[in-house]
Structures are given as structure tokens and as C-alpha cells.
Symmetry: C2
Subunit: 321 residues, 2 copies
């Protein structure tokens, strides 16, 4: 059955989780929200565009909804913040089946409920071509405690949560033989986990000097930290935790871990003197390199040989899935 | 020249106004913002979709950028709030000329600067077809003072700011003979003014019991107030302030004022005993009806005859421009 806007809004209202900080949610001109005293508001927005970030013939709708919200929650995690409410602006073609929207909202709301994030508003519109979803997440963080990209110093060590390259490798496999049933074998791509607990732990313990989430790929996101902090970095290639994927649990090729995007793991720096746990909230933490003076990034091989590391991550204008 | 994403982000950064409540803006995972003590955060999101909300052959890019931000600011005005920062998620076709984006950002930033609203973040992506812009505005309002849609009571009087129907009439004229130079003759459509000062005045004086902005049209937006407040309304047809448009300054036909959307005027209710000024911040205020018991809306003619008023405003799934 095709959609009309009233039915779409009604479905969103029915499936929208709430929480105690949402004073007014869907159904007024604005949502009204309480930011805890002594905290700052943190806000992120992320687009999910059909044919750019997902394909309807590759991604089950539950995965599209889950990944859409993950994009926003992962940015909150990367500041060490806590999410409060999400807003969803959804433009859909008028012939989109209602069951697709139901699946999308189901994936979205299931993840929202896990993290006690309210769906507090948004907008709907017809899209002449393809689905466009914009996710906005409003979170909070104690005053001046948000972990920025700009705090890294030469001598700091570089860490990542989890494993890298699993999401990009799934895209590679899908390109070779499209198969919607791959979703079960590549959870890192289809149902990535935003690292909210690890981010909050690093902020509470004041361990991280700089942090970013790996949405564009290690080489590109590390370059963002280097640029904002005014420093360089050296990554120890054999230390990079490669994702093990598929039924064989084979490790992905290095290129995917270096340049593949959408892993939604956290990349952070910490002073060399601080002890960083091997696991945070059950997520493994790996030391992969160090911050150096200058502006350049290097990759150090197994025999100590160094090569330049140039940002080559996901850029929407170059790649299409 | 076609766009690449880096150039697009650079252009947005250069043109982004700031303000003192923005602690971190563009260039981190999230923006960090200070909500004034004792205030609540208010948030709104609104899509502007090419072919649904605007046409590139009808609307100059400055108008598209201005109208995009107006949609968000008008929702803040309708709560009696003050805007703090805007976020822009912009999906554009890769062959979109840079000068179109420059024009869009110029219209957007000019309005933002008028209202001291920062552009504090957002996202960019390629769009396979057409421009999609999602505007998010974060504002604030003293605790529990936001003017909701749900506060109208039978006996309250119904008021509007400004004049109605000018925007929809411009669309009608454009449909008859498309001409980009019509922009100068129909400012209500191309460069509508969000009624932030009037909204704030009504909240400060505690005059309005319920408020909404006229984005969908009088009949539809009045129905939203009636539905959320659990009441009906009677509108005095001859009192409706019809917009005067074009070179002749001729009044628009009643249908446009009743059902035409995107005027971005404020519709509010106030107790019968309270004196509402004839102008607020230089915007005329017109008494157009009253709230009644029940759930129905009526239109009262010049001789006192009553007919049912049924919501027939803008719905994206029915109309295309």
C-alpha cells in the first residue's frame, strides 16, 4: 500500500519512544527539552541518502533505520556525551510501500529504545526520487567536558575501539554478489553499534585528549584530528585491529581498515602516561600509534619502514554504492 | 563549475555566522551550545525538497535559502522562543553549479544574521536527484513558558499577524506564467518574514494561550490548535486580512487566505478579557474569530450565516509545485 503523509506521521507517532527530559514531543511547532543543569547541549545532523548511503535492494529497511540513527548516536559518543532525543526528517517517494517505512521505523526505534533516546520530532515530505532521511540527535555533556577533535598533543598515544574495515568489506561483497541475506553475516555493516558507553567512560575518566568516530575511514578521520589539533600521527600498521567477517571469520584486507568508512568505532588519543584499559564496557581497545609533531601522517610497517599515510576514506562525491 | 563536497563544506564554513552561545560549531562531531540557565531547549526540523517546496526554475537560490531558514525560525516564533543556532543538512546533485549554492547560502546567511542565529553545523551529501535541504533550529525559552498548541479554551479570541494568502497566490501566478522576476512582486512568498519578535512579545506578556505558525494554511493550522486543545472555532470571514499582491496591490481571493500555506504568519488565541495590541513590533494583528466548545470549525459570513470550515491546506502528498 502506498503512503500518505498523515499515515506516515501517525506511524512515526505510534512508534516514537519518549523519555523524561522531553517536555513536549511530536505534535507541536517545536519539541521542548530539558538539558540537565550544568550541562551543555550537543547537536549533530547526518543525512542518509538512497543510492549514496544505502540501497533498497541491498539493505533491509530495519538496517537503514538502524544505521540512520547510528550515524547520529556515534557523533554523540565521539564527544563523550549522552543522547537525549532524536529528530527524523524523512522524504519518501509516494509509491514507497508502507511495510518499508514500518521496517525502517522498527530498526530505528529498537536502537533508540536500547539507548533510551526519545524520538521527539522531525518532518515528513514527498521525495520525487528515492528516500532521504536526516537524523538529528540532541545530547548533553557536563560544561566544558565534551571531548573535541582539537585536543591531541605530540606524544599522545592513538587508540581505537573494536575492529576496523568490516563495514566497507560488506559493501565490497555486496558489489560482487548482491544478496539481501548478507545482513546476518555482516552485522558491522548492517547493524553497527554506536560506542556510547565507551565514549562516556573516556569522558568521565578524563582519559581522552581528542576523539572522533570512524565514519569516513581511519585515514580520513585521523587526518581530521591532526588538522584540528595541529599535529601529525604515526600509525603502527601491524597493530591495526582488522575485522573478521563472513562465515569464515577471515580478516579483511588492510585497505578496508585503513580507508573504509562507516565502522562507527571511536578513534581517540590519550596521554602516554595514562593507563587505558584493554576493554571498556566489553569493547576491546587497541593502541595503534602515536601523535607526532608536524602535520604529516605516516604508516609504520612490520620492519619499522615508514610510508606516508594520505587520507583516502569515504567521500560521498567520489563513491556511490 | 560543478561542486565537490570539500568545496561545499568550505563555502558553508566561510559563510556561517556565529554567536556567543555556540561553544563549538562546524568542525567537530557535534556542535556544543550553551542554553541560558532556567531555560528549556526547543528544537524544530523542516525539509525543503526541490519539486515539492521549490523549483529551481521558479525560485532564485537566495529565496530558496531564505525560505529554508524561515521554515525553522517560524516554528521557534510559534513557541514564543528565541533562536540560538541553525544546522543545515544539504543533499545536492553533483552537477549543481557552485553559484547556485553561493546564492542559497547568501539568502540563508543574510536572514540568519538579521536574527543573530549561528550556523553551527549540519551535513552534506550527494543527491542522485534534486536538492534536498533539511533545516534544524535550536532555540530556547524560559522554563514552562513555551506557547503550545494545546492551551486554547472556549471563549478565547483568535488572532493572526500580518495578511494571509500572499504566498499561495504567488504560486498560482507562477503556475500560470513562470517568471523568475516575479520574486520582487511577491515578497510574501519569496522572502517571508519569520515573526520572531511578535512571538516573543506574546510570550513575555503572557497574552497567548495557544499559538502555531501558518505554514500549512489557516484552515489546516487552526484545526491543529483545535485538535490539540480539544475545542472548536468560529472564524469571521470578512475579518480575515487578505494579502494585497502584485503591482496592482489587489486583494487575493479568499480561498488563498483560507487554505494557502507558507505565509509564516502567527495564528494565536488569547483570553477575551486581555487587550491585544493592534500592532506588535510593527506587524498588524487582526481579530478573526473565537474558540467554541465542541470539535468543529465554522466560517461565519458577512450576514451571520455559518458554514463548516474543513481543513484543506497544503499537504505535500497532494500538491506539487
Amino acid at each position: 500500500m502506498p503512503l500518505n503523509e498523515k499515515a506516515l506521521v501517525e506511524r512515526i507517532r505510534q512508534r516514537a519512544p519518549g523519555n523524561k527530559n522531553v517536555i513536549a514531543g511530536i505534535g507541536d511547532d517545536c519539541a521542548v527539552l530539558q538539558i540537565p543543569a550544568g550541562h551543555e547541549a550537543i547537536v549533530t545532523t547526518d543525512l542518509s541518502v538512497e543510492g549514496v548511503h544505502f540501497r533498497r535492494d541491498w539493505h533491509p529497511p530495519q538496517s537503514v533505520g538502524h544505521r540512520c540513527l547510528t550515524r547520529g548516536l556515534s557523533d554523540i559518543a565521539a564527544m563523550g556525551g549522552e543522547p537525549l532525543a532524536a529528530f527524523l526528517s524523512l522524504a519518501v517517494p509516494c509509491d514507497l510501500p508502507q511495510r518499508w517505512v514500518d521496517g525502517f521505523l522498527d530498526g530505528f526505534a529498537t536502537l533508540a529504545e536500547q539507548h533510551r533516546v526519545a524520538l521527539a520530532g522531525g518532518d515528513t515530505a514527498e521525495s520525487p526520487n528515492g528516500v532521504v532521511a536526516d537524523i538529528i540527535v540532541l545530547g548533553h555533556c557536563p560544561r566544558s567536558k565534551a571531548i573535541r577533535r582539537s585536543g591531541a598533543h605530540p606524544g599522545d598515544l592513538v587508540y581505537v575501539t573494536g575492529t576496523l574495515g568490516g563495514s566497507a568489506f560488506a559493501i565490497h561483497e555486496l558489489g560482487a554478489k548482491p544478496n539481501r541475506r548478507l545482513a546476518g553475516r555482516f552485522p558491522a555493516h548492517f547493524f553497527p553499534k554506536p560506542r556510547l558507553l565507551a565514549g562516556k567512560f573516556l569522558r568521565q575518566k578524563q582519559l581522552a585528549t581528542a576523539m572522533i568516530d570512524l565514519s569516513d575511514g581511519l585515514s580520513t578521520d585521523l587526518a581530521h584530528i591532526c588538522q584540528e589539533s595541529g599535529c601529525g600521527a604515526e600509525i603502527n600498521m601491524p597493530a591495526i585491529p582488522l575485522a573478521a567477517t563472513g562465515r569464515s571469520r577471515r580478516k579483511v584486507p588492510l585497505e578496508f581498515a585503513l580507508h573504509g568508512g562507516e565502522d562507527y568505532e571511536l578513534l581517540f588519543t590519550a596521554p602516554a602516561g595514562r593507563k587505558v584499559p584493554a576493554r571498556i564496557e566489553n569493547v576491546p581497545i587497541t593502541l595503534i600509534g602515536r601523535i607526532i609533531p608536524g602535520k604529516r601522517m605516516f604508516l609504520k610497517g612490520p620492519k619499522g619502514e615508514r610510508q606516508r599515510l594520505v587520507p583516502a576514506g569515504w567521500e560521498h562525491f567520489r563513491h556511490r554504492i
